[in-house]
């Protein structure tokens, strides 16, 4: 039962991304061609809203549902893994037209072939785990 809220939040997230067409290959292609404001609007307004909410949480020491003060952990310092990893991710994002969230949502929308895309992404994750110590971070 304690997991039910995550199922519900996920469902809402899936509907949101579908209805904003964020899960469409065409929208991603159009974004990288600077052909429409749409995707920038979705991501930009999400980030602006998120910045405001997290700033308020910090300012007023907001607590989570367990009564603990909310503390979003900072990312590890450095730049290599973020830049190199980010570029690899971006190459794949434009080819598949789907980042990880949309892969799940597309399968739900009936584009079952994205099961293959996701299995390949899981394989990519596995290969990263194997090569991790040899890569610059």
């Amino acid at each position: 039962m304690k997991y039910l809220k995550y199922l519900f939040l996920g469902l809402v997230f899936g509907v949101l991304l579908t209805k904003a067409q964020v899960i469409s290959w065409y929208r991603i292609y159009e974004m990288f061609k600077f052909g429409s404001f749409h995707m920038y609007g979705v991501i930009g307004s999400a980030v602006v809203t998120g910045i405001i909410m997290l700033a308020l949480v910090k300012r007023f020491k907001g607590k989570d549902m367990n009564g603990e003060v909310i503390n979003v952990p900072p990312k590890d310092k450095g730049w290599k893994r973020y830049l190199f990893g980010g570029i690899v991710f971006g190459l794949g994002w434009a080819l598949t037209g789907a980042c990880p969230g949309p892969m799940y949502i597309l399968i739900g929308n009936g584009l079952t072939v994205f099961i293959v895309v996701m299995l390949s992404a899981i394989l990519g994750t596995f290969v990263y785990g194997i090569l991790r110590d040899k890569l610059p971070h």
């Binding site: 995550y6 061609k33 390949s120 992404a121 899981i122």
Partner: protein
Amino acid sequence: MIEMLRAPWPWYVVGPLIAVVMYLMIYSGKAFGISSTFRTMCSIGGGGKYADFFRFNWRGQVWNLVFVAGTFLGGVVSVLWLQSEEPMQLNEKVVQELEVMGINSPGKELAPGEIFAWDQLMSLEGILFMVLGGFLVGFGARYAGGCTSGHAISGLSNLQLPSLIAVIGFFIGGLVSTYFLIPYFLDL
């Protein structure tokens, strides 16, 4: 009401609501990050035998697996009850350009049927877009320590410089694919 819900939802409604979902995940004591579920699946599948990276107690990640199961259900709900009859309103120039590259009726489906179909898995094009593309997403997300949800949404919301670097990386990679790889692959 249902008609309104079926029409495409504008960015200024969806964007802020995505941030609300992120906030509620944080409020529940968890984090907002989807690509880490791929790592969890590697761990469940016995990946710990091959790399320490997959040796962790995956039971502590079940909440996130439930979340992504929910996103899948969100897709099902959308296609069953909230589907719009209208094709996507894409940029005209982009549409023409795609048609020249051999993609028919862009925006009619969520993804080009010429590429993203089961029978394309035997073609070079299908393998490049689906298998290679998926591999790069999974590898890159873990290398960068997050994907669009973890870096672009929650990382930037938390004013993290590493996330900004990652998002710049996403864009460099995306532009290279869009301007060089996609036209080349579609021409093969």
